[in-house]
């Protein structure tokens, strides 16, 4: 459904589906979409939609909050092998290994799904926007383990549902209510969410 409608430069009526909108604006510079879904947003979407909403509004964490924000690049240094940082459309930034696979590094195994979704989004973006099929590898340096990640049809569906979900969350006027999650305690918004 996403393959041929948008991006041919002709006057196809703009679709309301966030996935179509995203592809249309990514393929054709003249089409503007207010929402730029980034890889980090996909990650937040999986971790906590409230945090995603805060982040999308630049609601900043207050000074000297002791909680440590979850980093995405924490263990970057763990890999010395050759890889290139590639930025596409200023929307996604990926690490490409010498063998052509896209790599995403995750600091902890507790957050595998968010990392996987982020990586899958990159693969999905490469495939549908630039027409390049790539595989991915999710690296867990602390566990010295890697996991191959492929863009299967189920995974494509996961990504597209998540894009719609992200857009739905950030277009809301108020954030989703907080729900207690295991990572709340280490979240920089903890006091903001729970001081009531």
């Amino acid at each position: 459904m996403i393959d041929d409608t948008a991006g041919d430069g002709d006057d196809t009526a703009p679709s309301d589906d966030p996935v179509d909108r995203l592809l249309a604006s990514a393929r054709d510079e003249s089409i503007e979409d207010d929402v730029h879904v980034t890889g980090v947003m996909m990650q937040y979407y999986e971790v906590c939609t409230r945090e995603l909403w805060f982040d999308s509004r630049d609601i900043e964490i207050d000074r000297d909050n002791a909680a440590v924000a979850r980093g995405t690049r924490v263990d970057d240094e763990a890999y010395s092998e050759k890889r290139r940082h590639v930025s596409i459309d200023g929307t996604i930034a990926i690490d490409v290994l010498d063998d052509g696979r896209v790599m995403e590094v995750k600091p902890s195994s507790a957050l595998v799904d968010p990392a996987k979704l982020q990586l899958l989004y990159y693969l999905w973006y490469l495939k549908h926007v630039t027409g390049v099929d790539r595989d991915g590898v999710l690296a867990h340096p602390r566990e010295r383990r890697r996991e191959d990640v492929e863009l299967t049809p189920e995974n494509e569906e996961w990504v597209e549902d998540a894009i719609r979900g992200v857009v739905d969350v950030i277009e809301r006027d108020s954030p989703p209510a907080p729900t207690e999650k295991p990572f709340c305690e280490s979240c920089a918004y903890y006091d903001f969410c729970w001081s009531c």
């Binding site: 509004r57 630049d58 609601i59 900043e60 000074r63 108020s174 903890y190 903001f192 001081s195």
Partner: protein, 330 residues
């Protein structure tokens, strides 16, 4: 990041390398460990220069200046570590919308009356009969909802405060007769103590607001411009019964402050240097005291409760989620 340093002596405060030192009039030097400082409070006659001010600015430390008889003189605020255009826009929008402004102002008054009531009820349950005062406070609390504008709401608050202050003469020892609030200058010991205590609470609130991206000059209950940091007046009202008044009751009833700690002159009645130090130390201890916070599920200090109050307001303004004022729960 939450220590307050109070300087009571006269002298000079200056930057030396990466720290701050106080040089007293007698030449004695004292270094302030500023790594954890939130604010410096100057109570004496203290000189400082621009080099110090830039250093405080870099370090994000506020300096609150207390003058001789009009206690709070002003603050030197570091450029805020946080600035957020959208926070200020949200703040101003809420101020500009009369309904929204009134809603927020009502919450401040609600918290303030609730906390006054908690104090009265504490003594009522011990050895006083404060039935009338409690009734009035309940009545004023109920009247909050009916207020149709901020002026009327101010009236509701003033009525509650009168009933509240009327209990002070019974709570406090006989030699601390109060007979109602007087300002500029305070005419007796209790009034002078309340003025001083309230200005300390106010200055601490200024520091707490500063740690958020809220603009301290945009307020809801008080009119912006009433004082430079009028938002601090709004929030401090909630905390005065919990911080200022509790400490006053305790110190006077335990005779840790006596009438000797005050002196009267043409400018009214004022705390002596010793008295001021005693009170300040007691208030600082209270600020450090912790209570278990039911939703954060951890112990937080009274000082941090001030910070949380600013967060809560900011959250309300940015997300539309309800703002519920601190109502003493412990």
């Amino acid at each position: 990041m939450n220590d307050n340093f109070h300087v009571f002596s006269d002298g000079r405060i200056e930057r030396t390398d990466d720290t701050i030192r106080l040089v007293r009039e007698d030449g004695e030097k004292q270094y302030l460990p500023i790594e954890r400082a939130e604010a410096i409070y100057l109570h004496g006659q203290v000189d400082y220069n621009t080099r110090l001010v830039s250093f405080l600015n870099e370090q994000g430390i506020a300096m609150h200046v207390f003058g001789w008889n009009d206690y709070y003189a002003g603050s030197i605020m570091p450029k805020r570590g946080q600035t957020s255009g959208q926070t200020v826009v949200a703040q101003v929008r809420a101020y500009d919308d009369p309904d929204h402004r009134l809603t927020i102002a009502k919450r401040f008054v609600d918290g303030s009356i609730h906390n006054m009531r908690a104090n009265v009820s504490y003594y009522h349950n011990r050895d006083h009969d404060f039935t009338t005062a409690l009734d009035t406070l309940d009545d004023r609390q109920a009247a909050i909802d009916d207020a149709t504008d901020v002026n009327e709401l101010m009236g509701v608050e003033a009525g509650a405060r009168r009933a509240y202050y009327a209990t002070f003469d019974d709570i406090l020892p006989d030699d601390f007769a109060f007979r109602g609030r007087t300002y500029n200058p305070p005419d007796n010991e209790t009034n002078s103590l309340i003025s001083y205590a309230n200005s300390l609470v106010y200055a601490n609130t200024v520091s707490a607001i500063r740690a958020t991206a809220l603009d301290p000059t945009v307020s809801y209950l008080h009119e912006p411009g009433e004082r430079r940091y009028s938002l601090s007046l709004d929030i401090a009202d909630i905390f005065k019964p919990i911080l200022a008044d509790r400490v006053i009751f305790r110190l006077l009833n335990r005779r840790q402050l006596s009438t000797d700690d005050f002196e009267s002159d043409l400018n009214g009645c004022l705390l002596t240097d010793d008295g001021r130090e005693t009170f300040t130390r007691a208030l600082e201890e209270t600020l450090d005291q912790t209570v278990h916070h039911p939703t954060l599920d951890r112990n937080v200090s009274y000082q941090y409760l001030l910070r949380l109050e600013a967060y809560k307001l900011k959250k309300h303004l940015l997300t539309g989620e309800e703002y519920v004022p601190l109502r003493r729960w412990w």
